[in-house]
């Protein structure tokens, strides 16, 4: 690595900060990253001013790792700014890639989000019903807050994205693989997901036989056998439809896969893929029984199948979705 240092930016939008921490989970290899790159912008870890980025030439940043979805006008502005200033823009982690947990708020609109956050939660004391506003007049002038959008969008629904690094958060080894690929210039074609193209089942050591499900169980209802496929035991394991890369961490500790690595290559809609697969293994031909298996076993279908991918899915909220589960 004798050539001039590259420039690296890391940014967070609507996310929990876990992706920034995941980046540090590559341990002492982070020193190799700082040998190769100057970190020009990383709000979570270092002081920096947006204005300094604005003054940079277009394409001056070599790589930008962007985590988080786009929920406010400020986040959209930063996505546009960093897109313009970066040669390679990576949607880092599930939020930027698919919307992730913040994307589940797309079941509701902005008004409903605000009602919950500023009125309905038991810990809220807000007698004057104060809500965030874009503009507020004070004696000294006008104060601005970013506009909070109705809908959370993923990074690639906002600006063009070069690469995706899936996972909530991405595993340290996969992050390092991606960094090595960037440093060595061995990147896949633009638009690719940097990662595996098999499913979690491929990495899962459990024994699989024929899948026939008569009843779905919630995780707290049964103690699963440690060697048999969790789905065969009636636990809603997303592994069959989820991209590998994590090493089947959850199934190895008796917990079903929740799908954080998103769908495999060429799958348009993660949840639809999962529904399609599950419907094939339900062991019943009686409409009443089928309905019972599904409705009793999967009380929260959107949260189960689209926990990480709602914003990026084909689904759009219906007019009736007033209370999250819509069944009223």
């Amino acid at each position: 690595m004798s050539k001039a240092k590259g420039k690296l930016a890391v940014y967070w939008a609507a996310s929990c900060g876990g992706c920034d921490i995941a980046l540090l989970a590559i341990d002492d290899k982070i020193l190799k990253v700082s040998e190769a790159f100057d970190v020009v912008f990383w709000p979570c870890a270092a002081d920096g001013k947006v204005h300094d980025i604005e003054k940079m030439a277009d394409g001056e940043i070599d790589v930008c790792l962007f985590n988080g979805g786009i929920r406010t006008s400020e986040q959209e502005y930063m996505a546009q700014l960093l897109r313009k200033k970066s040669k390679v823009l990576v949607a880092f982690g599930s939020c930027a890639h698919e919307g992730c947990i913040p994307g589940l708020a797309n079941l509701n609109n902005r008004q409903e989000c605000f009602d919950t956050a500023y009125r309905d939660t038991p810990s809220t004391e807000n007698p004057q019903n104060v809500r965030p506003r874009h503009e507020t007049q004070v004696p000294e002038g006008t104060l601005y807050l970013p506009v909070f959008y109705d809908t959370l969008k993923t990074l690639d629904q906002t600006v063009p994205v070069d690469y995706y690094l899936p996972g909530c958060p991405p595993e340290a080894d996969r992050i390092w693989d991606a960094i090595v690929a960037i440093l060595e210039g061995k990147l896949p074609p633009p638009g690719s997901v940097i990662g595996s193209d098999t499913t979690v089942c491929d990495e899962c050591p459990r024994k699989r036989t024929e899948k026939k499900i008569k009843k779905f169980h919630r995780t707290w209802e049964i103690i699963p056998d440690p060697d048999t496929c969790l789905l065969e035991q009636g636990l809603l394991c997303m592994g069959i439809a989820t991209r590998a890369g994590c090493g089947a961490l959850c199934p190895q500790v008796n917990s079903p896969c929740i799908g954080c690595y998103g769908p495999n290559n060429d799958v348009k809609d993660h949840g639809a893929r999962m529904m399609s697969a599950l419907a094939s293994v339900i062991d019943s031909q009686d409409p009443g029984e089928i309905q019972q298996i599904i409705e009793e076993g999967i009380p929260d279908p959107v949260g189960s199948f689209y926990r990480f991918g709602l914003a990026h899915s084909l689904l759009r909220r219906g007019k009736l979705a007033a209370d999250g589960n819509g069944h009223k």
Partner: protein, 165 residues
């Protein structure tokens, strides 16, 4: 919106062996049904992935009909039972998304049941007409203050930096 009559857009996925032929029979027997339905022929109702239905809705369809052979009469032994289970799963999920149950309907029609299929199409179109447009693409619309807010941000940053030399 209200002065124009709303014409529902319906996509109908119909299996090659029964329901598509029922639609054919309805045509040759001159049985009338609303022209709102756009029929897509698939080999079997078991081929209809939930993705197809969601894609139709996300591209602007107001309702979807999934039609196959009667249970027990599938050309491919039992694949219409798979369609039945997939439909059950999809229905459960769409309800959670706040989509009215009448918008996506499962219909069984044998190749001889042209009249039944026409009746089912008529019912679906009437149901969806009563519900109004689904407007999924529009439900993702941007907030109207968005562009202005983004443009003003550059100015705010510059102003905030004016205190520096």
């Amino acid at each position: 919106m209200s002065d124009e009559t709303f014409e529902p857009k319906i996509v109908g996925f119909m299996c090659n062996w029964c329901s598509y032929r029922a639609a054919d029979l309805a045509g040759s027997a001159r049985i009338k049904y609303p022209p709102n339905v756009r029929i897509i022929r698939v080999m079997c109702s078991g081929r209809i992935d939930p993705t197809f239905v969601l894609k139709a809705l996300s591209l602007g369809a107001d309702g979807v009909m999934v039609a196959g052979c009667h249970p027990g009469e599938c050309h491919y032994i039992d694949q219409n039972y798979k369609a039945m289970r997939r439909f059950g799963m999809l229905k459960h999920m769409l309800a959670a998304m706040g989509v009215e149950a009448e918008r996506v309907q499962l219909v069984w029609a044998s190749a001889a049941e042209g009249q039944q299929l026409a009746d089912a199409v008529e019912k679906l179109v009437a149901d969806v007409r009563a519900l109004g447009p689904l407007n999924w693409p529009g439900n993702w619309n941007e907030h109207k203050d968005r562009l202005e807010a983004i443009e003003s941000m550059v100015k705010e940053h510059a102003e905030a930096m004016e205190v520096l030399p």
